[in-house]
Symmetry: C2
Subunit: 426 residues, 2 copies
């Protein structure tokens, strides 16, 4: 088998940890596999470099930041190769460029265009373990780029796709993907499998196990990805293409995100194009808007628009919104910060009705008021008061029930209620 | 003018220092010059990386060490470019590879084969200050190499040669090249000029102002080099090709080196080839032999061979020598570690007789016994007991006299005695 193993910052966070990684890699290679290792910077290293640059400039140039930050992964790749050699295996460290990871020219968040991988292929044929510096690539003009936060996941999946690897293992500090945060729900279970689509929704919901773009890449090129811990030998969670039996499970997981603020613009005149002006202004300030709801006001000539942003961007977004609101003749804007987003995710929702109703009912039974609602094909999200976050996660996890799931798919949350009788698989 | 400025580890040792460097570069550029900056790793950074690798392996692979160590200069180049941008000038950081520094494949001490410099030339034409990561290059097979300790000096001189720069300024933590160590000789003077040949002898004598290979390179390609301090605005010392008036000065400087150990092999049978076996064995262990003296023994059938090595390699060299001595039927080997090397250097020696005699006489007058002597065309070195080091430097500096030198060449040590009347320039 050709296996790509990606180790994150905490997995290579110290010399001792790098030695442990080397042992795991050597064991995988000794079992007869060809192995490509993709490494992140040692934890804390990237932040240290960002700190140095910020002492020099409030707004350092993206091109030079990429050169600076790519050094962290280069250092880890060299150290990891040395550690593997010390285990008695041939190992060769490659930078993103030497791996042939060609990207576009968008510094600090470049997109991978193609991977040549010539040097890696030759090294693998010669019996080397190849250790690739993650998070980085190079433009056609020979400039170093980085792939954005969590970009090493993307490096690993893309390298796996380019080399037609049999498996891409993402090693991190958690055992895999859970049905809910185990710190909140003690009987949350690790999933054996999850579909790419579900993983995408969970990743974008703040469950930081896998970077969103790496999931998209894995889905597009059908790369089998396993998320597992480098601190133990537990099997992890397989992220894979959707299989028919996955639809038996309506809700795969319950996610929450406390980094939310809600802004409401009141009395927006009912004229075309005003929403576009508002959200373009906010996007130009590099603030990510998540949910958007437009309420028809009692006064038919104006409307209210509410949206959520990361709480850390809240004040900035509010100031901007007030300015734009004034310019368009709206009545004003207010912000609410004591909120959280609760979501349930599952491909089975597509074929099961009544899931949303059951979610709202469950929250209501426990006195939790719903402030905003947003839905997609496989996800339902509600904004609630953040003091109810833990309660909401627990009651939804109970309602959609992993505790009662049969052993064969113990890792997934089965719908146990009777309200979803219209599913085609039933 | 096109000016190459190289800043060493202490000159870029902190964020504050990098800001100072950026100001100096910006000032040079604002004066209408095109500027290429070559930077070392921040002081301590290279040792930190070596320390990490040594925790993983007693003998890490050279190829991966080069990838590891080259990161230090990349980080400084990015930070320095950001700092220059903050001064309001366009700046672009380039790695050794992006500068097109092509080397041979000898990792950890590669030799520069050629410099393409295409990207740098284009950037200069577009008004950028170019900031090059020193100490590193790339092989024809796309592997990262480093140029050995002090290699950033070589990067700077080679880049200056490749770009036909008008001047190469080497910024360090001393004001320039002195006639002797000012900590020992209070009236030691900074030289205005020194010939490449003299600088070579001083560099190899442990006066660590300029790396030896960079001087050879400057001599070969006739690059004007100035050594000066990044901590003040003093003019520094110009290292230049020999000019005729330089021969008026017999002794340019007095150097000393306490990192010396002397090993004597006694009773070596008088057979051809034995010296070759001895010194090949020591060279194979990567120990640099400095002076070699063969004494004819009273017993005509055998001889004694003495040589010096860096004191830090002394024990290792002695053990090796004893083994080789036994195998060749010699009587044994002994080491003496309490020694130092004192040297006088000057191109004027070629045309002035009696210099050696005056040196020996001066040492003798002060009761300093000479243990070994070695001479070249422009240098005389003596091994003495190391307790006499400071005394010897002072009396030789007095004897060859910078204190009485005329103002026009105040920085150089004029011969003041009457023993050198045969010089052709007299």
């Amino acid at each position: 088998m050709l296996i790509v193993q990606k180790y994150g910052g905490t997995s290579v966070g110290s010399i001792e940890r790098i030695k442990e990684v080397a042992k795991r890699v050597a064991k995988t290679a000794a079992a007869g596999n060809r192995v490509v290792v993709v490494v992140s910077a040692m934890s804390g290293e990237t932040d240290k470099l960002i700190g140095l640059a910020s002492q020099l400039s409030p707004n350092p140039s993206d091109r030079e930041m990429d050169l600076l930050l790519s050094s962290g992964e280069r250092i880890t790749s060299a150290l990891t190769a040395i550690a593997i050699q010390e285990q008695g295996h041939k190992a060769m460290a490659l930078t993103g460029r030497q791996m042939g990871i060609i990207t576009d020219k968008v510094h600090t968040r470049a997109r991978i265009e193609r991977i040549t991988g010539t040097k890696a292929g030759k090294a693998l044929d010669e019996g080397y373990v190849v250790v690739v510096a993650g998070f980085q690539g190079i433009t056609g003009e020979d400039d170093v780029t980085t792939l954005g936060r969590g970009g090493s996941d993307l490096s690993a999946v893309a390298v796996a796709a380019a080399l037609c690897a049999d498996l891409c293992e993402i090693y991190t500090d958690v055992d895999g993907v859970y049905t809910a945060d185990p710190r909140i729900v003690p009987d949350a279970r690790k999933m054996e499998r999850i579909s790419h689509e579900e993983m995408l929704e969970l990743a974008s919901l703040g469950s930081k196990v896998l970077q969103t773009r790496s999931v998209e890449f894995a889905m597009k090129y059908n790369v089998p990805v396993v998320v597992r811990s480098s601190f133990n030998n537990n099997p992890g969670t397989l992220v894979t293409k959707e299989e028919t039996d996955m639809e038996d499970v309506v809700v795969s997981g319950v996610a929450h995100d406390k980094n939310q603020a809600k802004i409401t613009v009141m009395g927006v005149p009912d004229k075309p194009g005003l929403a576009a002006i508002l959200f373009k202004g906010i996007a130009d300030a590099n603030i990510l808007v998540d949910m958007i709801v437009q309420n028809v006001s009692s006064d038919a000539k104006s409307t209210d628009i509410s949206f959520t942003v990361p709480r850390t961007d809240g004040r900035k977004a509010l100031q901007l919104t007030m300015k734009i609101a004034a310019s368009m003749g709206a009545k004003g804007a207010v912000m609410r910060e004591d909120i959280a987003k609760i979501s349930i995710v599952g491909v089975g929702m597509r074929t099961h009705s009544g899931v949303a109703a059951r979610m709202f009912e469950t929250l209501s039974e426990h006195g939790i008021n719903i402030i905003m609602i947003s839905t997609s094909e496989i996800k339902i999200s509600c904004i609630i008061a953040d003091k109810f976050t833990e309660l909401a996660v627990r009651v939804l996890h109970d309602a959609f029930g992993p505790a009662t799931a049969p052993a064969v798919s113990a890792a997934r949350v089965k719908q146990t209620g009777g309200k979803s009788s219209s599913g085609k698989k039933k």
